[in-house]
Every structure is written in C-alpha cells, then in structure tokens.
C-alpha cells in the first residue's frame, strides 16, 4: 500500500494523520490537547482575540505566527463595525472545521476535490439577547450550511464525505452538544 502513489491530492497529508492515530493508540496521554485564546477589550464593543500557543503531544506548541481576530458589532447595533460579529466568527469556525474535514475525508477516500464552497447562516431572534423575551434563547435558533462541491465522485459519495465530516468535526460537536463553561474573574 505504501509503495503505490495516490494520484488524488487535496493537499491533506492523510498518511501523517493515520500515523498520528496509530502513535496515539500507544500513548493516549499525548492526545490531550488544550486550545487557548486571549482577548483584549479595545473600546465600545471592539475586542481583539489572539491565538498563539496551545498544548498537545505532551508539550507546549506554537503556531508559526500569531493570529488575531477583530470582533465588533455592526452599525445597526449602534457600534462602529470594525470587525466581524462574534456569532459570525462562530459560523466561520463551524464552516472552516467542516470544510477541513471534507478535504481530509475525501483524501482518505481517494476523492479528488476541485471546488468546495460553503454558505452558512444562523437564524437569531434578538429579543433574546436584548432581554425582551425570556422564551427566546440568546443563540441561534438553527444553523444551516449549504455545500457546493465539485469533485470526482458520485453525488452519494459526496454526501457521504460531508456526513462523515460532520461526524468527526470538533466545532460541529461543540455547537450541537452542550459544553460546561466556567468563567472566573481574577
């Protein structure tokens, strides 16, 4: 198997991922990761979040560079709109996670991708966040993701890749399932 070159290339190193899976089955402790971000208030509803380091494989790890995310609220909320709304960043995170999964699953299944486009929308009734109606939740009342995919595969195979990506997605899991959140003040 190792000697035949897979002609399909989605730019995902599946062999490395499978190798990691094998290695982690021997050393389950190395599989414990901690992801981090810091967030600094600028002014008004503006903030800048930064990610740089994380913990995994038994050691501190660093991104190749520091990444920042500016967030703000739009002008219809009487803000300056200097960045994406936090809920839009959440939508972007879900779409990015599912899309990365699609590439990896397709690579593993030897399906060549040519184009993958996701459109994602989350509905929200702002009676919730404005505290005007206790029957309305703050968060999305639902999220809809539409994929437009061009790949060398049948429609059923493409649907199976998208379904498998959801099954293995971290962000999909953390949006569809409850998570305990602890917020402390120093």
């Amino acid at each position: 198997m190792a000697t035949t070159k897979n002609p399909v290339d989605n730019g995902v190193n599946v062999e490395a991922l499978l190798g990691a899976r094998e290695a982690l089955s021997q050393t389950p402790e190395a599989a414990k990761f901690t992801w981090r971000a810091t967030c600094e208030w600028k002014k008004g509803t503006q903030s800048r979040s930064t990610v740089e380091g994380f913990y995994g494989l038994g050691a501190e790890q660093h991104h190749k560079s520091k990444f920042t995310f500016d967030a703000d609220h739009p002008e219809v909320f009487a803000s300056e709109d200097t960045g994406a709304t936090p809920v839009e960043i959440a939508l972007a995170a879900l779409a990015s996670c599912l899309t990365a999964g699609i590439a990896a699953v397709a690579q593993h299944r030897a399906i060549q991708l040519h184009r993958v486009t996701a459109t994602i929308e989350g509905g929200m009734d702002i009676h919730g966040i404005l505290g005007m109606d206790s029957d309305v939740r703050n968060g999305f009342d639902g999220i809809k993701v539409s994929y437009d995919i061009d790949a060398d595969a049948t429609p059923a195979e493409i649907r199976a890749v998208v379904a498998q990506s959801q099954k293995r997605s971290a962000v999909y899991d953390l949006i569809t399932n409850p998570t305990n959140v602890t917020v402390e003040v120093k």
Binding site: D141, A156, A160, A163, T176, N177
Partner: protein, 414 residues
C-alpha cells in the same frame, strides 16, 4: 479437578466450541453460572424474537429442523433450540457453576468456581458480549422520581408506569422497545445517536438472507480497514416479527414516537439532546444504500436479477425541521427512562492481564494475547457474523483448530 480445556459459558458459542473440541477428542468441560442458555432465560424481554430467520442458526452438527424456516424464534423457542443442541452434542456442561476467577498457573490456567477449582491448559471465554448494560454517566444526573430500566430488567409494558418514556438509543433494542411501548399507550421519545438502518425485506427476500448470500456476514476481521471501528458498529434496526415488518425510524415516527438527537446531557432536570439528528439519519441512510448497492451488485453478478423483485431505494429518514433539544424531566410528563445504550462483556473474574485501557479484551481473531486463551461471541471477532448463532460455527472451527495446534506444541499455531 483437571481437564485440558475449560469452556466458560453454555450458550450457543460455548456449545459450538464444545462440539468442535469433542470431534477433535480434546478433553474439556463447559462451565455455566446458571443453566444452558442462561442469558436467554433470564435477561430478555417477553416479546423478543430473534432478528435472524430460523434457518440462519447453522451450528456444527445442528440446525433448524422445524416447518417455518423463515420465521423468527420466540425466546422459549430459542431456549429450547439451544437446550436441544446441548443434548445433541452431549456437551459436558457443569451447570450452576459460576466462575469467580481465571489465573495463569504453570503452563495453563486455574479456573476457580463456586463449586471448586479446575486446572487446564487452555481456556475458552464464551461468556458473551452482553453481560452488563452500558449506562452512560449522565444517568447519575437524572432527577428523582424517574423510573429507570435497562433492557435486561425490562420484561413488558406493565412494568412501565402510565406517562412518557424516554428511550435512549435507537439500535435493535431501543427501536423494538419504542414500538412496543408506544403501542401500549406510553408516549415515547427516542434519543437517536449513531444507528444502522435496514429494511426487513428487500426485493422480496429477507435482508439477512441477502447479507448471508452476498457474503456480507462472512466479511473477515483481517480485511477491515478499521477493525476497532467495525467492532463498535451498533446493531441493525431490525425486529423479528411474523409479518416481517420493517422497524425503522420512519415507522416509529408514523406510530407517534418523537425522535430527538443523541442524549448529550442532563442539566437542571432537563434532558439535553444533540443537534446532530439530521446528520445521524443521513449517515444511516447512506450506509443502508451502500449495503443495498453491494447486494444489487452481487445479485447481478449471480444472475439473480430475473428471479427477484427489481432494485429500489427506500424513503430517506424523515426528521422534523427542528427536533427538540431539551425535555423537562421534572414536570411529571416523563415517568421512565430506558437505557438502550448497549452492553459490554463482564471480565471482572478474569485475573490475567489481557484487557486494554478501555477494558476490551486484546485478541487477534479470538486468539487472546495470553497463550492458550481464546474468546468467542464478541462483535466482529473473526467475521461480521461472530455474535450471531449462525456465526459461532465457523469461529469455533477456526479457534478449536488453533487450540488443538497449540496443545500439540505447534509453534506456528496454524
């Protein structure tokens, strides 16, 4: 007491092994904590029928002999079938002999029981895959006043108080209990995680006939891309019924069962469900279609297309647009929770270090890491059919062959 091989468990797997050992003249004993077919006698609900047709119970030197090969056995019929097998092969069964420990000793094992110790060179664990109901940790957060049942405790709807029932898990057990309780007037909510959908009949024949004929049940463990995954695939949503009805989520929805996503947590008296129901159903529909594709391809290759109904596909699973994400367990509407969340084997008596960190036994196709130890009847042990009555024969033949080579000192253990 001394013997060459101790077989633990006198269900169909242990008896099939006993038959093979007898034909190889391997001196052995079959230890049984209760009576022959004990789990079938004591741990099954009243209405349960086998989900494989009667004919699909081919055991070494035995098989179905009645007039209804395509029917599905009731529990009394299943018990009688296995009891007859024990008589037919004159299996040396010691009943009411509970194994309390298995330890390595010299070049073999010491098997301690409620009725004394046995010394042996080889031991076969045929205690089954379904000894302990797997109840998720969130069960501890259930509010007081809710009756909880496992499938081993459930017998019939009379046990279940009037009012709502939450059934957690939508495999063969969960879907069958959902149907029965909904019929009995208990409004059922069914929490659906990963599941395997299948029609009872396809193109005029039983799905189990197709899977057997097309070789699906014979798929081998050493041909699987990911055997760990294959060993954890849930049981198919199937029921054995005289009218051969399909028991899928669409049928349950039609009966009035409410579907939710997987039970994700219990907080402040609220059951919280995953928002992944749509995808779980898509995965199951796609997986079913792949099975049907394989069957169709085999039918064409085998020249069966003229003799059977034409290929077709089933309606996709219907999921309401916004399935409930929470259910109040404190307002008196929900009275019962049933954990149809699977089972695991009990190896608490096994004092040989052969379990991994998830308490699964480490084996290669039933050949356990400890020399001279074998296991039978757990999912995808050697073949897809390893947990079925019909699968015990091939596994017993293979493993008894390995065992005999081991006893002969054959280093290759062919």
């Amino acid at each position: 007491m001394r013997t060459t091989t101790v077989v633990i468990g006198a269900g169909h797997a242990g008896l099939a092994m006993s038959h093979c050992l007898t034909s190889r003249s391997v001196d052995h004993v079959v230890l049984e904590r209760g009576e022959v077919a004990n789990s079938w006698k004591t741990e099954r609900w009243d209405s349960l029928r086998l989900l494989t047709p009667n004919w699909q119970s081919r055991l070494p030197g035995y098989g179905y002999e009645g007039a209804d090969p395509d029917g599905f056995r009731t529990m009394p019929e299943t018990i009688a079938f296995i009891e007859r097998y024990a008589e037919r092969c004159a299996a040396p069964v010691e009943i009411h002999t509970a194994v309390t420990s298995v330890r390595s000793e010299d070049d073999g094992y010491r098997v301690s029981t409620s009725r004394g110790d046995w010394r042996c060179r080889t031991v076969v664990l045929a205690t089954g895959a379904c000894n302990i109901p797997s109840v998720p940790a969130v069960a501890a957060a259930l509010p007081p006043g809710i009756l909880t049942l496992t499938p081993m405790e459930y017998r019939n709807p009379d046990q279940v108080p009037e009012g709502g029932v939450l059934i957690v898990g939508a495999s063969a057990t969960g879907t069958q209990l959902a149907e029965e309780l909904q019929h009995a007037g208990r409004p059922v909510t069914l929490a659906v995680g990963e599941h395997v959908r299948a029609p009872r009949t396809y193109r005029g024949r039983d799905i189990k006939w197709w899977m057997d004929a097309a070789g699906v049940m014979d798929d081998r463990y050493d041909d699987q891309d990911d055997i760990v995954r294959a060993r954890h695939v849930p049981s198919m949503q199937l029921a054995g019924s005289p009218e051969r009805r399909t028991l899928d989520l669409n049928r349950l929805t039609k009966l009035g069962v409410r579907l939710t996503g997987r039970l994700a947590g219990i907080r402040d008296g609220q059951a919280l469900f995953s928002g992944s129901l749509r995808n779980q159903c898509d995965l199951a529909d796609l997986k079913m279609d792949r099975l049907l594709d394989r069957i169709d391809q085999w039918a064409t290759e085998s020249g069966l297309d003229g003799d059977t109904d034409p290929p077709h596909r089933f309606e996709p699973t219907r999921v309401e647009r916004t399935p409930p994400l929470a259910l109040d367990l404190t307002n008196g509407e929900m009275r019962t929770v049933i954990w149809a969340t699977g089972f695991r084997p009990d190896y608490s008596w096994l004092d040989v270090p052969v379990l991994d960190r998830k308490a699964r036994i480490k084996h290669d196709g039933g050949v356990v890491e400890a020399p001279g130890m074998y296991v039978m009847g757990i999912p995808f042990l050697r073949r897809r059919k390893s947990t079925f009555i019909d699968g015990a024969g091939d596994d017993a033949r293979d493993l008894s062959s390995h065992l005999a080579s081991y006893l002969n000192g054959d280093a290759s253990h062919a």
